[in-house]
Symmetry: C2
């Protein structure tokens, strides 16, 4: 399982019943939380996503609509009895902010918090099934996107074929790695005759808040699912640029150039109540687009 | 008009659809915000309370469930175009916390924020119609309650009587102050013959988070409306004390000793989903009690 649930899709302030940015990428083992606007803990409860399975939180940048819900979530996790380690990947100053909040309450968290300062691009997390790398995007303050990539899976053994060729089970591990089997008589059984390739590792690219910048396309190349902000409709390209944000058309272009399979759009300005035009405008450029509605779950 | 609207009534974490503590005391001129748990800005929107009429915010103490919504509200006020001054009354360290959040976003607020550190008891705010004083309560960290008191109003002029005695309008101001009128012939018209006393100034006492402490009764004496926490039902008195909180019975006692006209109870532990027993237990001690349900509005 690799699926993304949207917890918030509005920019700057909560409005029209929409919450500030937060998303959770779920595997069978882990819930990766991506940004954490105010109210995220309520949204996690609402959409029945287990806080106890969140072990890593990725904060793209320190505009409030992307992290004001973090201190509440961290505190609640403690009050709910968490003892497992928690890792936060974020710009450095957030560590001071968290500490100051804890100092003010004369308290500490009952679990170990590991803070990883984001400062360079590259791999930042490496779990059993997923690696995460950070890449810079171009915003008014330091801001990072995150690329979540499944690890390459072993080749799949074809049960009938290995039986037919009488390959011993002890050799299955080698087959999964792609090695050929050599019988006692010296006959070579080609790996591709008894295995098939595993499905291609999937990837999700979260592009955070950014001005239009084609240089990110290389970093998220061929991602199965790309989230790109569309703060404004296409007629407000100048306003978007002045605020280091993007329009529908621009998000569509990024997805197209990057060779994305699917595009999710979000971070809508509060000046828009209806979202229909966001979808139609983006689809003009990149057809396989969906709106990051809150509560919606997208398979990667 | 003097009315209190409840925005949040749960303790520690949001649960059962209940939000952390926040209340707003409304006069015709001002909305006084009292504590500001996470999600307060959404609750203000939900209950149609104008953020633009909030000019003073009172934060009792720096446990997260009483202030984690503040930075989001301050930021949103700025994004919504606020230019009016805003005053915050809170323990000193909150000023650093706010500044660090602003620094992290490399931003400033577009309005003037005046921070008033709470450190001593006594009057902290004096507006046209309302004075506010802070009083210490006994909690795990520095914590203050707030007493909102209407100013004494001028005596009311009895229109028929002033006409009958032919008192000139120029003297009405003196009558309102309680002075007698002396006619040109030297006859004294007693003030009470031509005016009546204004209604007694009303008062609201917010007792924040506190262990059972009868010494606060003197500070909130005869208040028309008293809010007192009831984190636990009466069977958990020991747990309440160990956490510097109170039970239903204790809140009832405080209201009784203080001579309150009405008692509001809130700050319910998340271990309780239903609240009925809070009301019945408190009423055993102090009958005129109501539950501080979210969205409920109480005339003071």
């Amino acid at each position: 399982m690799l699926a993304l649930t949207i917890l918030g899709n509005n920019s700057a302030i909560p409005a029209h019943g929409r919450n500030p940015t937060a998303q959770v990428l779920q595997t069978n083992d882990e819930n990766y939380l991506i940004d954490c606007g105010e109210g995220t803990q309520n949204q996690l409860t609402k959409y029945k996503i287990k806080k106890s399975k969140i072990n890593k939180i990725f904060i793209s940048h320190l505009h409030g609509d992307h992290y004001f819900g973090l201190i509440g979530l961290l505190t609640s996790m403690g009050l709910l009895g968490r003892t497992n380690d928690l890792h936060i990947y974020a710009p450095a100053i957030l560590e001071q902010i968290i500490q100051l909040h804890l100092d003010a309450a004369n308290t500490s968290l009952p679990y170990q918090l590991y803070f990883h300062s984001l400062s360079e691009e590259g791999e930042i997390s490496n779990d059993k099934k997923i690696t995460v790398s950070a890449f810079r995007v171009n915003h008014r303050i330091d801001c990072f996107g995150f690329l979540f990539t499944e690890k390459k899976k072993p080749r799949r053994i074809l049960a009938e074929k290995v039986k037919m060729y009488e390959i011993p089970e002890a050799f299955y591990g080698e087959l999964q790695k792609g090695n050929d089997y050599v019988t006692k008589k010296g006959t070579i059984i080609a790996n591709e005759d008894v295995t098939e390739a595993a499905p291609k590792p999937r990837s999700y690219a979260y592009c955070a808040d950014t001005i239009y910048d084609e240089s990110i396309c290389e970093k998220i190349k061929n991602a199965d699912l790309v989230y790109h902000e569309t703060t404004y409709l296409k007629d407000l390209e100048e306003r978007a640029a002045s605020r280091f944000h993007c329009t529908t058309t621009q998000a569509g272009n990024i997805a197209k150039i990057a060779g994305a399979k699917k595009l999710l759009i979000g971070h809508f300005s509060s000046q828009y109540e209806a979202l229909d035009n966001f979808l139609s405008e983006t689809k003009e450029i990149f057809d396989n687009t969906e709106i990051a509605y809150e509560g919606a779950c997208f398979k990667v």
